[in-house]
């Protein structure tokens, strides 16, 4: 809500948005998940989308990736409206986007190397030698050199995330999406993944969108943070701005305090007795 008007020193890149979300409203069945989200993500920044479970952050990510159709509103990626793209144009756009899924989503029937080279084999006509070199190059970037012949089941949790990053950046995308990059990892490994995200931005100059509920990780890597709560954006701001926010819900989120709904005695009684009227 309080979008910073001045671009602070910690926000690199220009103000030109790579992703524009306008009044995005979505439903899951009859339940409304996102209540009109408006959000810009700028070129070259690391935007962390933060919120507790049920805040709608995963849903927002799926919409940014074009995996779901919104009820209303629109998502524009690199200037193209996802809803109005032809299938071919959408495929071309997707070559400019890389995604590291929460569980890695590596194909269990392929080796790590084949996983990483799949986009190259499907979208380019490069010969096998060049592909092998590019795979090794990306494995070096994520510190997994020499692991290309292993199967995903032979990797540890942190290594799977690294391999997923290598696959996500194999086509040198302009946009990198990371879903819960540090979830399920021990603090040391999680911190190494955060360093990897910072390194990728540094080395490859991508715009990176990270969805997470981990505060430490968010504060460490973010240029700006979007705080989601129950389908609404509570605030968009730099790490400092979010930290110093006076908003009570943000404060509770930061202090990991569960927020109780104020109890209405009549409603409460109805819920307990199971009577609807």
């Amino acid at each position: 809500m309080s979008t910073p008007s001045t671009s602070s020193a910690t926000t690199p890149g220009t103000a030109e948005p790579v992703i524009e979300v306008r009044d995005l409203i979505t439903h899951y069945g009859d339940r409304q998940i996102l209540n009109g989200i408006t959000l810009d993500i700028r070129r070259g920044e690391i935007m962390v989308i933060m919120g507790g479970s049920g805040s709608g952050k995963s849903t927002l990510l799926r919409h940014l990736l074009g995996l779901e159709h919104p009820t209303s509103g629109c998502v524009r990626i690199l200037g193209s409206n996802l809803a109005s793209l032809s299938p071919d144009a959408l495929i071309d756009l997707r070559k400019k986007m890389g995604v590291a899924f929460q569980g890695g989503a590596l194909f269990s029937s392929m080796t790590v190397g084949d996983n990483i080279s799949l986009p190259l084999r499907e979208h380019t006509k490069l010969d096998q030698r060049t592909i092998d070199i590019m795979v090794r190059l990306k494995l070096e970037v994520v510190s997994l050199a020499g692991f290309e012949d292993l199967m995903p089941s032979e990797l540890s949790g942190g290594m799977i995330k690294r391999a997923a990053f290598a696959r996500a950046i194999i086509l040198d995308p302009k946009l990198l999406f990371c879903d819960e990059p540090s979830a399920g990892l021990d603090p040391v490994v999680a911190s190494a993944i955060d360093d990897l995200i910072l390194k990728l931005r540094e080395a490859l100059g991508m715009s990176i969108i990270v969805v997470t509920h981990e505060l430490d990780s968010a504060f460490k890597i973010a240029d700006r943070i979007t705080v989601l709560d129950r389908g609404d954006i509570l605030m968009i701001g730099t790490v400092e701005e979010v930290r110093n926010s006076a908003n009570e819900r943000i404060h509770n989120l930061l202090n990991r305090r569960f927020e109780d709904e104020p109890i209405n005695p009549d409603e409460y009684l109805q819920r307990l007795t199971g009577q609807s009227a």
Binding site: L65, G66, L67, D92, G103, A105, F107, S108, L118, E122
Partner: protein
């Protein structure tokens, strides 16, 4: 119709079931159309269906199924011979058993048993693989990489299935006849040569094609049911188990019903 807001009544449940059944037919048709589209024009749209993926599936669906299909086919051939001779003996017409075996095997038993074996082996495997991939977000990963999941996963399976199921059925025809021949020659005291001469004399190419055409239809049914069930998975590992069972039961039901309908249409 409904007693309260929470619990739908019988009519409403029936309606919803019917609607979702019709919906599934629609999804099936769409899937078949899309997979055929990629097989036909994928190459020109620079999104080809990969031959190596098709070959992997062919091995899995066809070659590795040869032992079990052979055993079952030989057993069914012998079973037909036993029952046929026993029944025809009442009329003293044992020597006519050959025609019953030849027609029964090529038109009905081989396509049906092969279809059921492939549904159990490969339809379930397809549903389980796709279901697991969906749960692990591998399908979403394919989509966001700009790789059509239908082209990448369903089309090779469809292509492999429509080639291998008729091929297996043809193999099953031969083995079942061999199984029947072994019993007939022993019981009626004729030579294997005589048995096969008689078989070829009574057997029409139309009988063979009748069976092979049905196996082609079964191939499509098993693939579509397997893919649809795999793609509809929800609820983790337990969900994968559920859709796998569902895929097998539904494809066997589809095979038997389709067999009956086709038999009616083709023999009228």
């Amino acid at each position: 119709m409904s007693t309260s807001d929470g619990e739908p009544g019988f009519i409403e449940r029936l309606g919803r079931r019917t609607a979702s059944g019709v919906e599934e037919f629609g999804f099936g048709a769409a899937l078949l159309g899309e997979a055929s589209y990629w097989i036909a024009v994928g190459h020109w749209r620079r999104q080809p269906v990969r031959l190596d993926a098709v070959i992997v599936q062919m091995m899995e669906i066809g070659i590795f199924a040869i032992p079990i299909v052979s055993i079952l086919s030989a057993a069914i051939g012998a079973m037909l011979a036993i029952q046929g001779i026993d029944t025809l003996r009442t009329f003293g017409a044992e020597s006519q058993v050959v025609i019953g075996i030849a027609i029964g095997v090529t038109r009905e038993f081989s396509p049906m048993i092969t279809g059921i074996v492939v549904a159990g082996r490969s339809g379930s495997a397809l549903a389980a693989r796709l279901g697991t991939m969906k749960i692990n977000e591998e399908i979403a990963a394919l989509t966001v990489m700009g790789i059509e999941p239908v082209r990448f996963l369903a089309a090779p399976a469809l292509l492999a299935m429509v080639v291998m199921l008729p091929a297996l059925t043809f193999w099953s025809d031969i083995v079942a006849m061999l199984g029947a021949g072994l019993y007939v020659t022993a019981d009626l005291g004729i030579t294997m040569q005589a048995f096969f001469d008689q078989t070829l004399a009574v057997l029409d190419v139309g009988d063979l094609l009748h069976g092979l055409a049905k196996s082609l239809l079964f191939a499509v049914l098993v693939t579509v049911v397997g893919v649809l069930n795999g793609a509809s998975v929800a609820g983790g590992a337990e969900g994968v188990g559920r859709v796998t069972t569902r895929a097998v039961v539904h494809s066997i039901a589809a095979i038997v019903i389709a067999d009956m309908v086709v038999a009616f249409l083709l023999t009228r």
